[in-house]
């Protein structure tokens, strides 16, 4: 039996790696995606276009404007001269935010009154705009603090001290790169397996496999092992790039990571084989992959957090192996996640793997009859 399985495994390896184009597709795109998406998939806010409409000639207004200019968040600062221009720059997305300093700003400030500074933000990008509002209010807070000190006001009664754990400078790539290790490994794993049975079906060679002495269980192993090794190798490559090219701190245990990756890939390959045994053509298999992969990415919490999803949808994310694996990878990279926490996220993947692999084997079986 093990001889037969061994032969099948070798055949599967050859079938996947023989074609030069297929080899390129397995190695090239994941690496390119790793580099482009690590930088592109960022919710960090940088290089924001800001416009300032300062109607006041006073010194205090000038001082405030200088503080906005000094901030590194704002790359281009455009000075406006009429109220009409506010609408123009916001409408045409020439600026994400406009700071409007009124005519009587300095006068009121010197008189001890509190002048109002208006900021107009583009709600078409409300996430970025809210973060920009945060930056602007911190600048104004600093200004207020200094004004208060000059006036001899008592120090503030209370202050907030923020400490960002696991990622003190809020580097976005520290989040994206570990997440991409999971995401790209998943895409490779599901694409190679989903097309493997469908291709054989289209070519008619799957029927030959079925009439051979191999049992469905042996076919399952023969199809799983090569995909596991290929996707695992790709995953390792991506991991190495994350650690050495992006210099993301890797604080946790490599053993935990690989144990978890094994069950993750088993779950993914189970899903791939399941899609593949349902599909009659490669095109259908491709569509099936797509129908699985897009929701899997969305529900994993990669693009936007799971906590923001509606209550009825949050339990559904527990069925998504990518959700568990991303928690593990990010946790091991940044938080040195202890083994019991890794286990808590790994057994659901093992359960998903058991279900999907069995279902795939049953489907081979059904076609046999």
């Amino acid at each position: 039996m093990w001889n037969r399985i061994g032969a099948l495994i070798i055949k599967e390896f050859l079938a996947t790696l023989r074609d030069k184009r297929a080899r390129v597709v397995l190695i090239g795109p994941p690496l390119v995606q790793m580099f482009i998406f690590s930088f592109a998939a960022t919710l960090e806010v940088k290089n924001v276009n800001l416009a300032i409409f300062n109607e006041d000639n006073g010194k205090a207004a000038h001082e405030l404007v200088q503080r906005f200019r000094g901030s590194r968040t704002f790359s281009h600062i455009r000075l406006l001269h009429t109220t009409r221009q506010i609408r123009q720059v916001i409408d045409a997305r020439k600026a994400l935010a406009v700071v409007h300093i009124p005519q009587d700003f300095s006068k009121k400030l010197y008189a001890g009154q509190s002048p109002e500074v208006q900021i107009i933000l583009d709600g078409r990008s409300s996430n970025t705009a809210q973060i920009v509002q945060g930056y602007l209010s911190r600048i104004v807070d600093g200004f207020n603090h200094d004004v208060g000190a000059l006036r001899g006001a008592p120090p503030p009664q209370s202050e907030l001290v923020t400490r960002h754990w696991f990622n003190p400078n809020l580097e976005y790539t520290w989040y994206t790169v570990p997440s991409l290790v999971g995401l790209l490994t998943m895409i490779i794993g599901v694409v190679i397996t989903a097309l493997s049975v469908a291709r054989e079906r289209e070519l008619g060679t799957f029927d030959q496999l079925l009439v051979s002495p191999l049992t469905p269980f042996e076919i399952l192993i023969g199809k799983t092992v090569p995909s596991l090794l290929i996707a695992g190798t790709d995953g390792t490559l991506i991991l190495l790039i994350g650690i050495f090219a992006f210099r993301i701190p890797f604080n946790g245990s490599l053993v935990s990571l690989y144990v978890s990756m094994f069950f993750f890939l088993a779950a993914i390959i189970g899903i791939g084989l399941f899609i593949s045994s349902l599909a009659r053509t490669q095109q259908q298999a491709f569509l099936g992959t797509f129908t699985f992969a897009v929701p899997a990415v969305l529900l994993s919490g990669f693009a936007t957090p799971i906590d923001n999803m509606p209550d009825w949808l949050q339990p559904v994310t527990l069925l998504d192996p990518l959700r568990h694996f991303m928690t593990v990878v990010r946790g091991i990279f940044l938080k040195a996640l202890p083994p019991d926490f890794v286990f808590a996220n790994t057994w659901p993947m093992a359960a998903i793997a058991a279900v999907t692999l069995t279902a795939a084997a049953l489907l081979f079986n059904r076609r046999l009859e």
Binding site: V25, Q33, F39, A40, T42, L43, E44, V45, K46, N49, S75, Q88, I90, D91, S114, E116, V117, Q118, I119, L121, G123, R124, S125, S126, N127, T128, A129, I131, G134, S137, V140, F143, V147, R151, P155, Q157, S158, L160, V161, T162, R163, W165, P168, L170, Y172, V191, Q282, F286, L287, T291, P295, L298, L299, T304, P305, D307, N308, M309, L313, L334
Partner: protein
Amino acid sequence: MKGGSPRRLKALIAKEWLQIMRDPSSFIIAFVLPMLLLFAFGYALSLDAVGLKLGLVLENPSPQSRSFAAALTDSRYFNVRIGHDRRDFEDDLLAGRIAGIVIVPRYFSERLARAGDTAPIQILTDASQPNTASFVQNYVRGAWQSWLQLRAREQGREFRQPVRLQPRYWFNTELNSHFFLVPGSVAIVMTLIGAILTALVVAREWERGTMEAMMATPITIYELLLGKLVPYYIMGMGSMFLTLFVSVEVFHVPFRGSFAVLCLVATVFLMAALGLGLLISTLARNQFVAAQVALLAAFLPSFLLSGFIFEISSMPWPIQIITRAISARYFVSSLQTLFLAGDIWAELVPDILAMLVIAAVLFSITALKTVKRLD
């Protein structure tokens, strides 16, 4: 269009249409998948942090620290659990079950009462999710400021910052992230039909040799391309109407532009998308490669590089340059403007022009490649 005849073109379109209707899988791509994606995008994607899970540590509960706690628990942005030791929550932070811990230290009320002293409050965030971490910081700050104001009012002091900031959000006063994410996903759905469906179907024709058979007939290359495009254009527009309907009726996104302008912008975008699909199929000529390339060159860029979720201005400049070649980028920004702001030509005209240029380039390359094969 030399030697073109409307009758031949009509026959071609009819043939193409029959082919689409006969094959259930292209129908699924055109109508079922878009709906599935739009619902997945609409429900699963949200940047509105409502109910951020926080652990609040009151090391020494006192009236002062309780009044601050109330400011957090009353806010709809937080879902707060209260404890008395930070160790109660450290495991939760590690496991990612909470987004942050707010600590009101033992000496808080003492230092608050002492004149000239400052009582600190500490925030610890789980920065392995940096966006959520900065929202925790900003929202706690907001709650803390309203607490300070409330306190000042209670003590009969006038609490006034020297300068007050008055933020106003245009186009989306509720700050609902669905309002820009849903229009953005319409662009992704249309990329799916325009580029991916076309790429797959035309690649299948090359694979089966029916493309060559068509070329042996008196049909000109332009008629052939046009005959392919018209049915997919109609399907693309059909799914656009469907997604517009769902966006407005199910997700309650306002639509402030005019329908005619939306049709114009969608048409221009579909030209570019169909051009991309046609080019991919012409170069690949095989379904497997076409599928891979379509995923890489059409779907993922429309998702990640279009500015739909991830702000383009925050990307490094080489990637910003790449985004300029992606038609979805212009379509996403036009859609957000049409839905939320209205017909703002200063924004729409440059987008339309850019998409036209991209479409023209893609069609020229396709025409060149196809003509060569005819020789």
